[in-house]
């Protein structure tokens, strides 16, 4: 079983800071989605690779990310 | 029509303020009384932007348009915000690539132009607004194409003169929609 990363898509502003710090490069902006405020939210492309380092969450200015460890 | 009261609305960055300015300048070139008023303040950042434009034979009273004859909406929130205010018989032009008009009104003319999609197809990236302006021109005839051409010339800064032709092409494209 994998770790869990939850992005609050309504709060996310698609700034990409999380994606820039993810050591596994699995945090990505989802260009296909648009939230109510008009932003493309971040999402995890491959949760299996997640090491729960929480770099993304620490970096997120909007506290949109929750990281849980197996 | 003695006067046009228009609202241009969308996300910041979509060029709604610029579009409004081109329209106002066209009115000026035609010898009309005109005004242009932007929404301002922090809500502009990351949020929606809009401006009011009045073109009239008489001096403009309130430059703030609260009951537009014409609404150009470039995103959903803007459409939702202004659609109820449009005067019966008015014209509403939307970028249908971005706006999915949830609410429809029977008493206004709705022009749906997939401006963003068109702009991408036609290598006119970033100037979907000019396509909508073309549609506005076509549907209201608020000015002549020559006037609008002059107006665009006035409004595009010298440093971006090379984009002039692009803009005009987009307007023409919009007129054909």
């Amino acid at each position: 079983m994998a770790n869990r990363v939850t992005v609050n898509e309504q709060i996310c502003k698609g700034c990409g800071l999380c994606t820039s710090v993810c050591p596994k490069k699995i945090m990505v902006i989802d260009r296909d989605k648009l939230n109510a405020k008009g932003y493309n939210p971040a999402t995890v492309s491959d949760i299996e690779k997640c090491i729960a380092c929480a770099m993304c969450a620490i970096m997120c200015p909007d506290s949109a990310i929750k990281v849980e460890k197996e | 029509m003695a006067s046009y009261n228009m609202v241009f609305a969308g996300f910041g960055g979509q060029g709604v303020l610029f579009t409004g300015k081109v329209v106002a300048y066209a009115g000026l070139i035609d010898g009309k009384e005109v005004s242009w008023l932007p929404s301002y303040g922090p809500e502009m950042r990351g949020g929606t932007a809009n401006c009011s434009v009045c073109i009239s034979d008489l001096p403009v009273g309130s430059p703030l348009v609260t009951e537009p004859d014409v609404l150009i909406a470039m995103n959903g929130p803007s459409y939702d915000k202004f659609i109820d205010a449009v005067k019966p018989g008015g014209v509403v032009i939307i970028d249908s690539s971005l706006v999915n008009p949830s609410k429809r009104r029977e008493d206004v003319t709705l022009c749906e132009v997939p401006a963003t999609a068109l702009s991408n197809e036609e290598h006119l990236e970033g100037i979907a607004n000019m396509i909508l302006l073309g549609k506005l021109l076509e549907s209201t005839g608020f000015a002549s194409m020559e006037t609008v051409e002059q107006s665009v010339q006035k409004c595009v800064p010298a440093s971006k003169a090379h984009l002039l032709e692009h803009n005009l092409r987009a307007i023409r494209l919009g007129m054909e929609q």
Partner: protein, 250 residues
């Protein structure tokens, strides 16, 4: 499952009004987490400035007072004198703290006022649309330095920590940055230490946080982090400028 990271309870549910990728949000988190970890939410009163963080009163879950532009240290002084048990902090931008608020900042420090100042230095006036700040770098283009800041007419940037460190009342002054995860971790330590000082009654603590303003710098959020690192940190060296606990330790 164990939670590795989640939103601090010292932050309200109100979505933050900052631009996408603006590091104001990160700094908010660090402040909230520090207060929360120290367990003093109930007696904390924060002071919001005038600047992009003017609505900080909506984001922090402690009592808050909104101060006139630049006067947060004076408002905090009033609070601190009225609430001897209170944990009082201000959150201020560089225009707020280092321009219009210079006198209030210097004198709160000089008085050794028992407050924490979180000083967000983003080298520009964010809220009003990108004018030159006292901290704007030489040559930096802003709305009011359209040809780049010319030090001959517009003067030099002010290094606040260095200046306040000369004052006897300053207990603690450190400059940190939030441009990377390691730096964020250091920033958190500094902010928490400032609050610990406050709780221990050690007097005036200021943490200067180098921050981004992607919107007015005209950069993407990620580019902005890099610009900060490459341009701001050389001019504003990170580090501790004063720490009376360290001196006591000696």
């Amino acid at each position: 499952m164990t939670t590795v990271y989640e939103k601090s309870k010292m932050l309200t549910d109100a979505p933050m009004s900052y631009c996408p990728g603006c590091t104001h949000g990160i700094i908010h988190k660090l402040v909230a987490e520090s207060i929360s970890e120290l367990g003093v939410e109930g007696r904390t009163v924060g002071v919001a400035p005038v600047g992009c963080s003017v609505m900080a009163y909506n984001f922090f879950a402690c009592d808050m007072v909104q101060a006139p532009h630049g006067r947060a240290p004076a408002v905090a002084t009033g609070l601190a004198r009225a609430l001897p048990e209170g944990v009082i902090f201000t959150y201020q931008g560089d225009g707020d703290l280092a321009a219009i608020g210079t006198a209030e900042t210097v004198h709160a420090a000089s008085r050794g006022e028992n407050i924490v100042i979180i000083f967000v230095n983003n080298a520009i006036y964010g809220m009003t649309g990108g004018q030159m700040a006292p901290t704007t770098l030489p040559g930096q283009v802003t709305q009011t330095s359209p040809y780049g800041r010319d030090v001959k007419t517009a003067g030099y940037p002010i290094r606040i920590c260095e200046m306040l460190a000369t004052l006897d009342g300053t207990a603690y002054a450190e400059r940190v940055s939030v441009n990377s995860v390691p730096n964020i971790r250091k920033a958190k330590k500094a902010i928490k230490k400032a609050f610990e000082n406050q709780i221990a009654g050690r007097g005036f603590s200021i943490v200067e946080v180098l921050s981004t303003c992607p919107t007015n710098w005209g950069l993407t959020p990620v580019e902005a982090l890099k610009w900060l690192e490459e341009n701001m940190t050389p001019y504003y060296p990170l580090g501790v400028y004063k720490d009376i606990t360290a001196e006591e330790g000696k």
